[in-house]
């Protein structure tokens, strides 16, 4: 095994949302295909929801990456909390109109009605739970015009459920829930991710026992798993740098190092 393999493996699990890092798992692929199909349908709004770390942002990024070549797709990863700024940004991106002053909802609705571009632009709003209730209500009214289509992602918590109930219950034609990975999916996810970065030796280190322990610690959450695996390979890198090969079993991942990584990431406490 080359000395840099642990460092490379560590970098694979950096918490960066990149469409290229998207890992195709059977269930996830089915859901993604379902989402793509829904976008083609004349739906007003599509809701993508799930617990934090289940891959909503990755889904949205992947969708943007796949659709941007063929249609007008605008993605807003960070919520624009100021209402006027939100309308001005949409007006500039969707209709190429720049406003210097304030732009209120009535003015923006007028702009939307006036611009009939043929193909309905798709607006992807990540972290929609951060938008205020009045703004969410206005987004709903915008989608009712059928001039703009929205795909929004929400964290599935009590509060977000309430938002979904109040604002989107009657309008959402498609809602897709994302869930944590199962133990088998997690193993495939880890191995595919490592193999994608040509870290085959590292990928072979993960057997069912070690993956089960990781699953037990992270409950199959992709974000937590990424964090844990990043720390795990960081620890291996440290041992490697120190030349302490006695603590590195290169055939399989040591449970001790998994637990050390979990302690460091705060998944367990001493």
């Amino acid at each position: 095994m080359k000395s840099s393999i642990f460092r490379n493996s560590r970098d694979v699990f950096l918490d960066i949302v990149n469409a290229k890092d998207y890992i195709q798992l059977d269930r996830v692929s089915t859901i993604y295909q379902s989402l793509k199909n829904s976008v083609k349908k004349p739906l007003k709004m599509i809701l993508l929801y799930g617990k934090p770390g289940t891959g909503k942002s990755m889904f949205l990024t992947k969708l943007y990456h796949d659709l941007s070549a063929t249609q007008d797709v605008y993605m807003y990863k960070t919520p624009i909390l100021d209402e006027s700024e939100f309308y001005k940004t949409l007006a500039q991106d969707l209709y190429k109109i720049k406003y210097r002053g304030e732009l209120n909802f009535t003015q923006f609705m007028k702009v939307v009605e006036e611009h009939d571009v043929g193909e309905v632009p798709l607006v992807l709003l990540d972290e929609a739970q951060l938008y205020s209730n009045p703004l969410m209500e206005k987004i709903r009214l915008l989608s009712d015009t059928r001039k703009v289509k929205f795909v929004i992602t929400l964290h599935k918590t009590g509060k977000e459920d309430l938002i979904a109930k109040e604002h989107f219950q009657t309008r959402i034609w498609e809602s897709i829930e994302l869930e944590n990975a199962s133990s088998i999916e997690l193993k495939i996810y880890i191995q595919k991710k490592l193999m994608k970065a040509n870290c085959f030796d590292s990928a072979n280190m993960f057997n069912a026992k070690s993956v089960n322990l990781i699953y037990k610690l992270t409950n199959g959450n992709y974000r937590d798993s990424n964090k844990l695996l990043y720390t795990l390979f960081d620890i291996y890198t440290h041992y490697e740098d120190k030349g302490d090969s006695s603590k590195m079993n290169k055939n399989s991942v040591s449970n001790k190092i998994i637990e050390m990584a979990a302690l460091h990431t705060g998944l367990i406490h001493d």
Binding site: I235, M260, H264
Partner: protein, 289 residues
């Protein structure tokens, strides 16, 4: 930046913490098993104690077989410590009895002379009947000498010791000249024995035990104690004649003649006991003082 040494220490703490529940469970199981084992062994000991007590209560006769050979110089045959366990009395008795030489019995055997020319008619002989009678009696007498008295006859064990030994002397000492074998039976009338019986009585409150204690104290001349224990016996069971007799006797010995008479009168009215009547007559006539 990861501090590996600190992380290893944290991991060690975490591991120790994670094992604590298992250690606690194992310790609890070990403690439970230990308690269970101790409890079991205790119950076994209790059972054996009960068995021993039961064994003590059951009449036990230990007879050593004495082979008496009809030789001129008969050796001394000694029955060492013949322990006689009397039910409810727990009494070990040792006696010294002179064993008497056994006389050779003259046995006449008729040996028929074989004569081929003479025809003989065979008839059944009934001599064995007389032999049986001759043989069994002495054996039976010897057996009786060693056999222990029955539980209900404890009184006779106490009182009639000399009398029975006298009788035995008459029976056994056929030839007092030859003192070649002896049987020793020692009797122990110690307070330790009474104390042991008192302990048992306190445990099970058996009126037979208290009656025994009362009798023993009476024999030892401790009339206060015999009065107390016979009183206790009467409280437990007021139908024991012997207890009322000892009670009355103890009262007489304690110079409470009038009370003894009164008690006996009441008891006679209640039970019409002949022994009580006889005792009452003896007290009234002054025979019993």
């Amino acid at each position: 930046m990861i501090n590996i040494n600190e992380l290893e220490d944290r991991w060690l703490k975490y591991k120790i913490k994670s094992y604590i529940p298992y250690i606690v469970i194992l310790l609890s199981i070990a403690i439970i098993i230990t308690i269970f084992t101790l409890f079991n062994s205790k119950s076994v000991i209790d059972k054996t104690t009960v068995a021993e007590i039961h064994k003590e209560n059951t009449p036990e006769i230990q007879v050593q077989n004495v082979v008496i050979e009809p030789i001129k110089d008969i050796p001394n045959i000694e029955i060492k410590k013949e322990s006689i366990a009397i039910p409810n009395l727990e009494k070990t008795t040792q006696r010294v009895i002179q064993n008497q030489p056994i006389q050779e019995k003259n046995m006449n055997y008729t040996v028929p002379i074989y004569n081929p020319n003479k025809k003989t008619m065979l008839a059944p002989s009934l001599d064995f009947m007389s032999k049986l009678q001759d043989n069994t009696l002495p054996y039976f007498d010897n057996e009786r000498e060693v056999t222990v008295n029955k539980p209900n006859q404890e009184k006779s064990v106490q009182k009639n010791t000399q009398h029975t030994t006298a009788q035995k002397k008459q029976k056994v000492q056929i030839e007092p000249i030859k003192k070649q074998s002896s049987i020793q039976i020692d009797r122990q009338n110690t307070h330790d024995d009474i104390n042991q019986v008192i302990k048992r009585f306190k445990k099970n409150n058996n009126p037979a035990l208290s009656l025994f204690i009362a009798k023993k104290y009476y024999q030892l001349g401790e009339y206060h104690q015999s009065y107390n224990y016979s009183l206790m016996t009467n409280e437990i069971n007021n139908d024991i004649e012997a207890s009322w007799i000892i009670f009355a006797k103890s009262l007489v010995k304690l110079n409470e003649k009038s009370m003894a008479v009164e008690t006996l009168n009441k008891y006679i009215a209640h039970s019409s006991s002949n022994r009580a009547k006889i005792l009452l007559d003896e007290i009234n006539s002054g025979k019993f003082k």
